[in-house]
């Protein structure tokens, strides 16, 4: 395969201003996220926690977007990676004495593990990534509906193992005493580090090739693009990112159990539904869509949680979110952003000519 194919690489040189214009599709969503987080910091502690939770979801959606948005292949299985990341983080950071009492049959190196938080987060990215690499072998060959069903099967299969392997994970009982270090700053730092990586990947030759397969599988194949390889790269990166979201969640909540990640009778959609809704409502094929969708639905969800508390009526949030997702699919199937990036609004001709993002979003004027 030719290694020279891409013309829309990030600009080298040029004035700082023009770099800003070029990077606007990254700077705009990142700036919006930082702005909202800083506003939340000035508010109450409750607001701060809500913003932290939003950032955890954003990391998940960024990971989901890295695969689904760039490849166009739907995945219902990403909550698997979140669970793997969360359990990895839990094993590495939970109180050693508690682990030894609640999980006496788990391997000793897990029971006695007690490593630095950043190391645990790194491990929580690596474990799901390795798992993703293994399952990619069969899964990345599938397209369309088959891929959707297979990723769902992966979610259920791992869900059964995690919830039934009593001696290792504690089964359906909560894994408690996890080190609680996820606060707003910590979450914001992770988002600010990951978002440029996601953007860089999508603008890299790997990302552009993958986007080519999304737009036309056969044409891109005839150009020599190895679909399975490109998808596998995105799949593994996205698993690592979603694994980090799992670590953040475990460190945010302090306790985890399988029902928080896997679909089941009690979860009623759960994190799988929430994150898919965020990505689809925002716009599945752009970074801006992932970020805007997360912020938009987080805002609505958190407002509704207050209504739930006031009326003592749970699950109103899920009802409203499902309705919003349905209306989006029917009325604006490409999402709020229309699947486009946010471009510098005052651009001159020269930046118009080379749209930096998705082939589908080329010719950005509506």
């Amino acid at each position: 395969m030719s290694e020279t194919g891409t013309s829309t690489r990030l600009p080298v040189g040029g004035s700082l201003g023009s770099l800003g214009v070029r990077l606007w599709p990254l700077l705009a969503p990142a700036g919006l996220t930082i702005l909202i987080s800083l506003l939340a910091l000035m508010g109450s502690e409750v607001l701060e926690r809500k913003a932290t939770f939003m950032l955890i979801n954003m990391v998940f959606v960024l990971g989901l977007y890295t695969f689904v948005g760039n490849s166009g292949v739907l995945s219902f299985g990403h909550a698997t990676f979140m669970a793997l990341g969360a359990y990895t983080f839990a094993f590495m950071t939970a109180n050693v004495r508690v682990k030894n009492t609640t999980l006496p049959d788990a391997p000793g190196f897990l029971r006695d593990a007690d490593i630095a938080t950043w190391q645990a987060v790194a491990l929580a990215a690596i474990v799901p990534a390795v798992f993703a690499l293994i399952v990619a072998l069969p899964l990345m060959r599938l397209n369309g509906l088959a891929a959707g069903i297979a990723t769902l099967a992966m979610l259920f299969a791992v869900g059964v193992i995690v919830s039934q392997w009593q001696s290792l994970t504690g089964g359906n009982t909560a894994f408690a005493a996890i080190r609680r270090e996820t606060d707003l700053y910590y979450a914001l730092v992770i988002v600010v580090v990951l978002m440029p990586l996601v953007y860089l990947y999508q603008q890299s030759r790997f990302g552009l090739r993958l986007r080519g397969t999304r737009e036309d599988l056969l044409a891109s194949r005839s150009l020599g693009i190895n679909t399975v390889r490109e998808r596998t790269i995105a799949w593994v990166i996205s698993a690592a990112i979603v694994g980090i979201a799992g670590a953040m969640y475990a460190g945010f909540n302090g306790t985890i159990d399988p029902s928080q990640f896997f679909l089941g009778a009690r979860s009623a959609g759960g994190v799988t539904f929430l994150t898919i809704a965020m990505l689809v409502v925002g716009g599945i094929s752009s970074l801006a869509g992932a970020v805007v969708g997360t912020i938009f639905l987080s805002g609505i969800a958190e407002a509704l949680r207050e209504v739930e508390k006031a009326t003592d009526q749970r699950h109103i949030t899920e009802v409203v979110l499902a309705l919003i997702l349905l209306l989006t699919l029917i009325l604006r199937p490409r999402g709020i952003t229309g699947g486009r990036e946010i471009y510098w609004p005052f651009r001159r001709e020269q930046t118009m000519r080379r749209p930096a993002a998705a082939p589908s979003a080329a010719g950005t004027s509506e």
Partner: protein
């Protein structure tokens, strides 16, 4: 394994298989006509379950069972048709993935409405002792409910076959599932064919609801999820492209489940049964995506 044990396992497999075949048939019917994998099909079953709860608590008790059956099936049909009209018709021409997400949204919506109205806990449904009665012949036990399930499945399969082979509408439906666009060009009305598919799927879902509630004695928000997921598994195993495949897949899955239970029990691993079932799905999708029974070619040919 002695003969009576073999017979017992065969009966268990047949009972599960016929139940799964009913679910799978509903899933495959919608897939064949409009390329829709309908997650929300489980919530048609759910609607049937809560219809039974409403019937037995507000109207009459379950001793007037013919009325209960009719009521449950009618409610399921209404829900199936409403799903089609309100959610799936607007996205009919979208790609299969968009329809899949749509059905996921409908599913989550209905489950959560059920939780808001009836809480997340299972609600017992008073349907008399039919769930517990069983026949015994030597060492073999046959539950009355399993006999009912087998009978209902046989009846529904035969009626559906007769409908598809003998009636004009049935022939139009088969034509539409062969090639939807071509059949439209030849004068098959799309709306009527699709609505009929949802109507039949509603009848099947209502029957599944009756059997499920008969089995567990209660209605719960999660009651549609597992029939649906296993029905989907059965469809993938049997072949997504033919109705016969769905029925075959249902019975194969029934046999697989009973076999896995027996096999894994010797290692004390029967808790992990479902993990193996889902693994089988992935293996099937990769190595034989057309399923055990090959129907028409749906793959885009190049």
């Amino acid at each position: 394994m002695d003969p009576s044990e073999v017979a017992q396992n065969a009966i268990d497999a047949a009972a599960r298989g016929s139940f799964l075949a009913l679910v799978a048939l509903g899933v495959a019917l919608l897939f064949g006509i409009m390329n829709l994998v309908n997650f929300a099909y489980g919530e048609v079953i759910l609607a049937g379950g809560y219809a039974m709860l409403i019937f037995t608590t507000w109207f009459l008790d379950a001793s007037v069972w013919p009325l209960l059956i009719i009521w449950t099936v009618v409610v399921a049909i209404v829900f199936a048709l409403a799903q089609e009209r309100l959610a799936f018709r607007p996205v009919r021409h979208a790609d299969p993935t968009t329809m899949l997400v749509t059905s996921f949204a409908v599913s989550v919506l209905l489950v959560n409405i059920a939780i808001v109205v009836w809480s997340g806990l299972a609600r017992p449904v008073e349907i008399g002792g039919v769930t517990l009665e069983q026949f015994t012949a030597g060492e073999i036990r046959i539950r009355k409910l399993d006999v009912i399930t087998l009978g209902a499945a046989a009846f529904l399969l035969l009626s559906l076959t007769a409908f598809l082979k003998r009636t004009s509408l049935g022939i139009q439906m088969r034509a539409a599932s062969e090639d939807f666009r071509m059949s439209q060009l030849l004068g098959v009305p799309a709306n009527r064919v699709i609505a009929t598919a949802f109507f039949i799927a509603g009848i099947l879902a209502g029957s599944v609801a009756l059997i499920t509630v008969g089995n567990q004695g209660s209605s719960s928000p999660g009651m549609g999820l597992f029939p649906l997921i296993f029905g989907l598994v059965a469809v993938v195993l049997g072949g997504m492209t033919s109705l016969i495949g769905a029925v075959v897949g249902g019975f194969v899955l029934g046999g697989l489940i009973v076999g896995l239970e027996q096999g894994l029990a010797t290692y004390g691993m029967e808790r992990f049964r479902d993990a193996f079932v889902f693994l089988a799905v992935i293996v099937m999708l990769v190595f034989r995506p057309q399923g055990l029974v090959v129907g028409r070619a749906i793959r885009e040919r190049v």
